[in-house]
């Protein structure tokens, strides 16, 4: 197998970095939102639920365009955050934001399901033993939901690695800054003689995806062994 060119390596490394940052940065928010949706009733819950799931049903290009409108240099949020030195547009951080938004619904769904599967009577038991709401969450709910949290994180990571539409619409396709694995493959298919490069990167993508699957399987098995349920 021919070696990857430095440009191709850059795209691979950038993809991994963007996916990792997108997953880790959105994980706390996903846990909070999932817990809110699983355990609380409040007015507007349906609306929150709908907003979270919107990127799942909207065309990715639309999501990317909305991000551009909101977080672009002249967008209301983008202009506000720029004052603090946080810039998303045409930066790799913007790519991470797009990936996080696209992966968020998948992550929230998985984590919410695992929260809902935690027996509320265990939480009640912890309460009668003196644990306040946050202690109950930290010592009972979250540890018991850990396998689901891992599944959610890995789903988000996989989604982020493959994200294309929203990213390219929001932050374009700049080599070394926002050109991810997917975007690089797309670029190769657009230029004459790019087939070999596209094929090399495709192999890399398959290897990373398989690796993520195996890792998630292993992590889950470890986690659920720790969280043994009653026989």
């Amino acid at each position: 197998m021919p070696e990857l060119t430095p440009e191709e390596w850059t795209a691979v490394a950038l993809s991994l970095r963007i996916a990792a940052v997108a997953t880790l940065a959105s994980l706390p928010f996903a846990i909070a939102v999932a817990h809110l949706l699983a355990r609380r009733d409040f007015p507007g819950k349906t609306l929150v639920d709908g907003l979270v799931h919107l990127p799942l049903v909207l065309p990715p290009v639309v999501t990317g365009y909305l991000l551009l409108l909101l977080f672009g240099k002249r967008g209301p949020l983008g202009a506000f955050l720029a004052d603090f030195g946080i810039v998303f547009s045409f930066r790799w951080t913007g790519a991470a934001l797009a990936c996080a938004v696209m992966g968020f619904p998948l992550m929230v769904r998985a984590i919410r399901l695992s929260f809902e599967a935690v027996d509320r009577r265990l939480e009640a038991a912890a309460g009668t033993l003196g644990a306040g709401p946050f202690a109950v969450f930290a010592t009972v709910t979250l540890p018991l939901a850990l396998p689901g949290v891992l599944v959610g994180a890995i789903l988000c990571f996989a989604k982020a690695l493959g994200e294309f539409g929203a990213t390219i619409t929001f932050v374009s396709n700049i080599p070394g800054e926002t050109q991810t694995l997917s975007a690089a493959i797309y670029t190769f298919t657009q230029i004459p003689g790019g087939d070999a490069g596209a094929l090399r990167l495709t192999v890399v993508a398959v290897v990373i995806a398989l690796g993520a699957l195996v890792l998630s399987e292993w992590l889950q098995r470890r986690a659920s062994r720790r969280v043994a349920v009653y026989a």
Binding site: L122, A124, T128, P133, A135, V136, A228, A231
Partner: protein
């Protein structure tokens, strides 16, 4: 000490209950749907009263008039669920110590080693809940609740999900607990045997209301002639161990009204000698060494002179006018008929004041009462078949075959 007075209305259920409970075991007793578990949930703070007041040990847990309803974690009320509810991701040890994290150091009144010893769970400490038997899980759950040093321990049908053998395994532990730690227990059950064995004070609930409350010996006595309650009615007698007869493997108990024969011989969890030991707040736990519990005594033989409490089903009592002879029944207690309740049905319910003061109730047929000419004031002998007494339900009795 707890004072409870709450009202709660749900579309299909109304609750209006007031009672108070002191030291020892107070049983909430009644058919399913009578509101026992709701009362427990209200005390623990898992349910909110529409209006009412709950005070435990001078701490106001809820007072809707003053706008106070404490959340569960601020109440320090221990709760043992029907099905243990151990944390599956923690070891037995971590389950046991869970509540201590949230108990201020100066309020940690219950020593870890004592609880582990009393409950006999020292060899389970490093195991996971999933690997425990049902009885072991329940013991760990009891220990976990105790180690949070609660003001009050609530037990919501803790034996209901266990089979008879497991029940018999746990009952002595609960009994020991009652005597070893000064924590009042509110025990929910619909099993009359458990209540008769454990509780000094009984609150009988029916359809969300208190139907009766008082000493166990009074409340568990039958109240009606209905067929359904016939098998639930028990009398509670307190007798003294006279001696064990090894030749026939029976224990002979001394009661002012006569000798009582029990199969088997008594072990060591019989009650400490106390005046009558039945009322709430009776000093059964006030003996020296109450906190340390002396769990090792459990296997020691109970000496002659120890008091035991017997529950006798009203359906197992035969009445005889004049001293019967040539019968296989060895236990004949003398007393006076104080009341006979009848209706148009087949049964008559006789209440007998035994010599010495205990009351015994007997279900007989109305026909028998008529043919014997039984009337209030008559002197009778109450006959009890020794084999009909469930020696397994007598505290500390060891069954010869086990």
């Amino acid at each position: 000490m707890i004072e409870f007075d709450c009202r709660l209305a749900r579309p299909d259920f109304k609750l209006d209950v007031a009672f108070s409970a002191g030291q020892g075991v107070t049983a909430l007793f009644g058919p399913s749907g009578s509101g026992k578990s709701t009362v427990i949930r209200l005390i623990a703070g898992l349910e909110r009263p529409d209006d009412g007041r709950i005070v435990a040990d001078d701490a106001v847990l809820a007072d809707t008039a003053a706008g106070i309803v404490l959340p569960p974690h601020r109440r320090r009320i221990g709760l043992v669920f029907q099905d243990a509810q151990l944390f599956p991701h923690l070891s037995v040890r971590a389950n046991l110590t869970y509540g201590r994290w949230f108990t201020p150091r100066r309020e940690r009144a219950v020593p870890f080693d004592d609880v582990v010893q009393v409950l006999g769970i020292d060899r389970l400490l490093d195991r996971r809940p999933a690997t425990l038997s049902g009885g072991e899980r329940q013991r760990v759950a009891i220990g976990r609740a105790l180690l949070a040093s609660p003001r009050l321990l609530l037990m919501d049908e803790p034996l209901a999900s266990l089979d008879d053998a497991r029940k018999r395994e746990i009952l002595p532990f609960i009994e020991h607990l009652r005597d070893a730690f000064r924590i009042p227990i509110v025990y929910v059950s619909h099993a009359v045997d458990e209540v008769a064995r454990l509780a000094g004070h009984v609150v009988r609930l029916e359809a969300g209301r208190v139907a009766a409350a008082g000493p166990a010996s009074e409340i568990l006595a039958p109240t009606s002639l209905s067929t359904a309650s016939r098998f639930e009615a028990v009398s509670i007698l307190t007798a003294t161990v006279e001696r064990y007869d090894p030749a026939f493997a029976v224990t002979i108990l001394d009661h002012p009204a006569g000798r009582i024969i029990l199969p088997g011989h008594l072990g060591g969890t019989a009650m400490e000698p106390t005046p009558t030991g039945l009322g709430p707040g009776s000093p059964a736990t006030s003996q020296a060494g109450a906190m340390t519990g002396k769990p090792t005594d459990r296997t020691a033989s109970s000496p002659p002179g120890a008091l035991v409490r017997l529950s006798i089903r009203a359906t197992n009592v035969t009445l005889a006018v004049g001293r019967p002879s040539n019968l296989s029944i060895r236990t004949a207690l003398t007393g006076t008929v104080v009341h006979i309740a009848t209706d148009d049905g087949p049964f008559a319910l006789a209440t007998i004041a035994l010599r010495g003061g205990d009351r015994l109730t007997a279900y007989i047929t109305r026909l028998a009462a008529a043919e014997l000419g039984l009337d209030t004031g008559d002197e009778v002998h109450a006959l009890i078949k020794a084999v009909s007494l469930d020696e397994r339900m007598v505290p500390g009795l060891q069954i010869p075959s086990e």
